[in-house]
């Protein structure tokens, strides 16, 4: 087997050196009746070229913006198609990065450690917070961790979650709190604006440990963070701001400035390919006073006895390998390499590039919104100002409209009935449309004329 550098005869020799006759003796610790007497019933080994062929075939069974039918796609909703500089893959493909372990041995892990320190710094700057961790699984689990941390900090076992938070994020939070003795209330969003109903905050009880709001929200709308922060702090709760479209941070006020206590979310927009939903990279940032309550790994600066500076994993007493059931989280392996991708992305785009990219998202999305809302029968569902996503109301059921669009190689967006079928109804004809800097005017115009035809 080509991944094994021991030759058969070397293996023989090693066995003999140990006074063993056969490999089977190595497994004498396993009761005979438990030993598998037959080969595993999985497909026989493929050659390298056949393996390539198999995965090529699978890849060709997908239709994407750049392969097969070259679909023009307007899907967003927590996963965004942004431009990815080539250098990112070049650099993370350095085997010193991707074939190394968690940097527990700083003397030979400074590359990874320094990169994480840079990641933490960039996240702090973008979110306006003091401390960032080294990443969490994704935006949804980062949100769940924020809820758990809020409970640790406030001792309150109830949280208020905006109803326009990404529905899958809410599902994940449910899963995490279900057994942790934490309950949630859903804060309604305004039917006209799609943003959180501020009045709903007026009467939330002092038993609420955290108010969790996403901005831009699931519908793309920008929330009144400042006001929500004030209301939240008034009851002594933590204000958690979730950012699932990190690109918006290139343009929008940092949640920190608006008064957030925890800012968490997803860095996928920063150089991480869509890859059918993973791997992505959760981020988590908070105030310095909470730094010993933060979940996940932290990298800090340190010096050796000659005064040379370097970096180490620090404040480890928060973590499971030391604190066990009392740890701030059960997370161990995180998304290290993907945090590196985002770090390289932010370095490459830099100050000017992130701003330019963000503004292109804004301009193109509004160009599309203007045209679509101009089509007879279509309108923007919500009034709030938005970044690169907006909801349109179609004259027919969304599923039907999207199917017709697909016939023209357009994935028109996400039908909201998928998430707001029951409870919040009135979403049958609603489509969440996303436009990024990678969406060409031509694609937008194609969508518009296609919608016009379908609408008439």
């Amino acid at each position: 087997m080509r991944y094994i550098p021991n030759s058969p005869s070397e293996r023989e020799l090693m066995l003999r050196e140990m006074g063993l006759k056969s490999v089977d003796e190595l497994f004498r610790g396993i009761p005979a009746n438990l030993q598998l007497k037959r080969p595993l019933q999985i497909p026989a080994a493929l050659s390298e070229s056949d393996t390539l062929g198999y995965f090529r075939k699978m890849a060709e069974k997908n239709e994407t913006p750049t392969t097969g039918r070259k679909m023009a796609s307007f899907l967003g909703a927590g996963a965004y198609n942004h431009f990815i500089p080539t250098v990112i893959d070049t650099l993370i493909s350095r085997s010193e990065f991707y074939t190394s372990y968690t940097p527990y041995q700083p003397e030979i892990s400074q590359g990874t450690l320094q990169a994480i320190f840079e990641f933490q710094t960039m996240i702090c700057d973008l979110t306006g917070m003091d401390v960032s961790n080294a990443s969490l699984y994704d935006g949804s689990t980062a949100t769940a961790e924020a809820v758990l941390m809020a409970e640790r900090v406030t001792g309150r076992t109830k949280v208020a979650i905006a109803g326009n938070l990404h529905p899958e994020y809410i599902e994940v939070v449910d899963t995490y709190i279900k057994n942790a003795g934490i309950s949630k209330v859903i804060l309604p969003f305004d039917g006209q604006n799609g943003t959180l109903r501020l009045d709903s905050l007026a009467d939330i009880g002092a038993d609420i440990g955290a108010v969790i709001v996403q901005s831009p929200n699931f519908f793309g709308g920008i929330e009144e963070l400042q006001k929500i922060a004030d209301a939240t702090h008034r009851i002594g709760a933590l204000f958690v701001v979730v950012v699932s479209e990190a690109m918006s941070l290139g343009l929008l006020q940092s949640p920190g400035r608006a008064g957030a206590d925890i800012v968490c979310g997803e860095t996928q927009s920063f150089g991480i390919p869509l890859s059918f939903g993973g791997s992505y990279c959760g981020f988590f940032a908070t105030r310095e006073k909470f730094q010993r309550q933060i979940p996940g790994r932290l990298v800090g600066m340190a010096h050796d006895d000659q005064g040379r500076s370097g970096f180490v994993l620090t404040l480890a007493t928060r973590e499971q390998h030391i604190r066990r059931e009392k740890a701030t989280s059960n997370i161990c392996t995180n998304q290290g390499l993907y945090a590196l991708m985002s770090t390289v992305y932010l370095s490459t785009m830099g100050r000017a590039g992130l701003r330019e990219a963000a503004e292109q998202n804004l301009q193109k999305a509004h160009y599309a919104a203007r045209l679509i809302s101009g089509i007879a029968g279509y309108k923007l569902r919500f009034g709030a100002s938005f970044f690169n996503e907006f909801v349109i109301s179609a004259p027919r059921p969304a599923t039907e409209v999207l199917e017709r669009l697909r016939e023209q190689d357009i994935i028109g967006g996400l039908e909201l009935s998928r998430f707001f079928g029951g409870r919040n109804s009135g979403m049958e004809n609603e489509i969440l449309v996303c436009v990024t800097e990678t969406t060409t005017r031509q694609d937008i115009d194609r969508l518009v004329s296609a919608l016009a035809v379908i609408g008439s």
Partner: protein, 506 residues
């Protein structure tokens, strides 16, 4: 004499922020192809940033490439040599996996792409489920958990759901004192209190201790097999029986499956749930900390409780078979992350499985166990074995003998660096004072292993003859041991313009 490594010129490099200069750029976007409207007319001023993104660096592409290439050379890596971290299974990461995981048809597909346009992806979500079910001998698999710890949490939640459906979620999860820290931490998230049981004199589960704590309040036993001492729980069937008879279920931490794949199957032992670390047993890269994937395999009884969505196959009217994502899972524990798991990791793991096939997987297991036993055999005269027994894929020593000279496990670890190796796992499992935990994996050849044995023998000698040499190690790295205590007392967790020589060691 150090045979494996030398010292060589190595570039210094500051933080990326220190390369920043106003006006440098590393990107070029297409011109905006729609008319630009004043931003303030689209978004209220109060919602706009007022810091001009001042914190982000302004550098050229050349700066970026130089910066990250340079700092990468400060890392040790599997592609450079043996990485004997016990419990971490640092095996070779096949380049073929990396290549296929980057196929444009995968990386460019959106998670909400309609099923009919992503049949390829759905097949890649189903195929590993089938293989992993067979490998574990269990009925069903969920690929959603993002890593082992999340697999633990998800698995325990399916157990909880199952018990609830039986009428009582129960209170406790029993965990041996040798377990990994994620076990109790995961149990806690699931609302269970942890009952720790002392391991027996041979490091395995002490049946009496077990019987003593197992009662009708016990939801599950969380067992690592082979244990973190690298030894198989010989009484596993008995153990499962005890738990099952008390109405509890058995969760197996599968982080050590590299010792078992193709040789024995948890399902056949009586295990109800297991998580697998694809970034260990199934060769996906650790990436300096992640990402990984922690699929769980469960019994038929637990299948309904797995996270949604599930991939199911349907036969269309025209008889064609199609895959689709099924969200209608009334009994599911719910979702543990958004979308469909760490897809890019799953693709790599599947590539590994189809590349090796049944024979290759078994050969890998056998070789991993052979290598570990070979090391145990050659080092037992120099280092104290933690527990006598029959090690499988890893072996645990202690620093007992070296302590006599004031040399501790950490010193031995650091000295290994000078010998050109990454250190072994240190001070884990916690039940072994000064644990020295070595896992070679099947990716090491005899020569590399012999060099490793020589190095540890030589360090044992140094501990006796020149202990200072070991205690001051490493000597051949660009920086020495860092003062972690101070770093934790006065944490510096982000760069600020003041700290401007940071990282430019040397």
């Amino acid at each position: 004499m150090i045979k494996k490594a030398s010292t060589h010129i190595n570039q210094n490099e500051g933080l990326i922020f220190e390369r920043s200069r106003p006006g440098k750029v590393g990107y070029r976007l297409p011109e905006l192809d729609v008319e630009a409207v004043p931003v303030e007319s689209l978004i209220e001023a109060r919602h706009l940033r007022d810091d001009k993104l001042a914190g982000l660096p302004e550098v050229s592409e050349v700066d970026v490439v130089r910066h990250f290439t340079r700092i990468s050379t400060w890392n040790y890596a599997v592609d450079l040599g043996m990485y004997p971290l016990g419990s971490c299974t640092m095996k070779y990461n096949p380049k073929l996996n990396e290549r296929v995981s980057r196929f444009e048809g995968f990386v460019s597909s959106h998670p909400y792409t309609p099923d009919e346009l992503s049949q390829g992806n759905l097949e890649l979500l189903r195929d590993p489920e089938l293989s992993l079910a067979e490998i574990t001998g269990l009925a069903a698999v969920s690929l959603q958990p993002a890593a082992g710890a999340q697999g633990e949490m998800t698995g325990l939640m399916t157990i909880r759901k199952c018990l609830e459906s039986r009428g009582d979620a129960r209170k406790y999860v029993i965990i041996p004192d040798s377990a990994h820290g994620t076990n109790p931490a995961s149990a806690a998230i699931c609302g269970y209190q942890v009952k720790t049981i002392k391991s027996g004199p041979d490091g395995s589960v002490d049946l009496d201790n077990l019987r003593a704590v197992v009662d009708s309040d016990v939801a599950a036993l969380m067992l690592t097999n082979p244990s973190t001492l690298g030894m198989f729980e010989e009484k596993i069937e008995e153990i499962c029986r005890i738990v099952h008879e008390a109405g509890g279920l058995v969760y197996m931490d599968g982080a050590n499956m590299n010792a078992l794949v193709g040789v024995t199957r948890p399902g056949d032992m009586g295990v109800d749930v297991i998580h697998l670390n694809l970034h260990k047993t199934f060769s996906t890269p650790h990436g300096g900390g992640g990402p990984g994937a922690g699929p769980i395999a469960v019994t038929k009884e637990l299948e309904p409780f797995l996270p949604f969505p599930r991939v199911i196959e349907e036969t269309a009217a025209n008889g064609s078979r199609k895959l689709r994502l099924d969200y209608d899972r009334p009994h599911s524990v719910g979702r543990v992350r958004a979308f469909h798991g760490n897809f890019s990791v799953l693709v790599r793991a599947l590539c590994y499985i189809v590349t090796l096939g049944p024979d290759g997987l078994r050969e890998a297991t056998e070789t991993a166990v052979l290598n570990a036993n070979y090391i145990a055999h050659h080092l037992k005269d120099d280092y104290e074995i933690a527990y006598a027994g029959k090690p499988l894929h890893e072996v645990v020593f202690t620093d007992k003998r070296q302590q006599a000279y004031g040399v501790h496990t950490l010193d031995i670890a650091k000295r290994l660096i000078d010998y050109g190796f990454h250190p072994m796992t240190v001070y884990f499992p916690l039940i072994v004072p000064g644990a020295i935990m070595i896992e070679p994996t099947e990716s090491e050849g005899r020569e590399e292993i012999d060099l490793f044995i020589d190095a540890l023998k030589s360090i044992a000698r140094e501990a006796r003859e020149t202990p200072e040499l070991v205690k001051m190690a490493p000597h051949n790295t660009r920086i020495g041991r860092l003062d972690e205590a101070t770093a934790a007392r006065r944490p510096i967790l982000r760069w600020k313009p003041a700290v401007s020589t940071a990282g430019a060691a040397g």
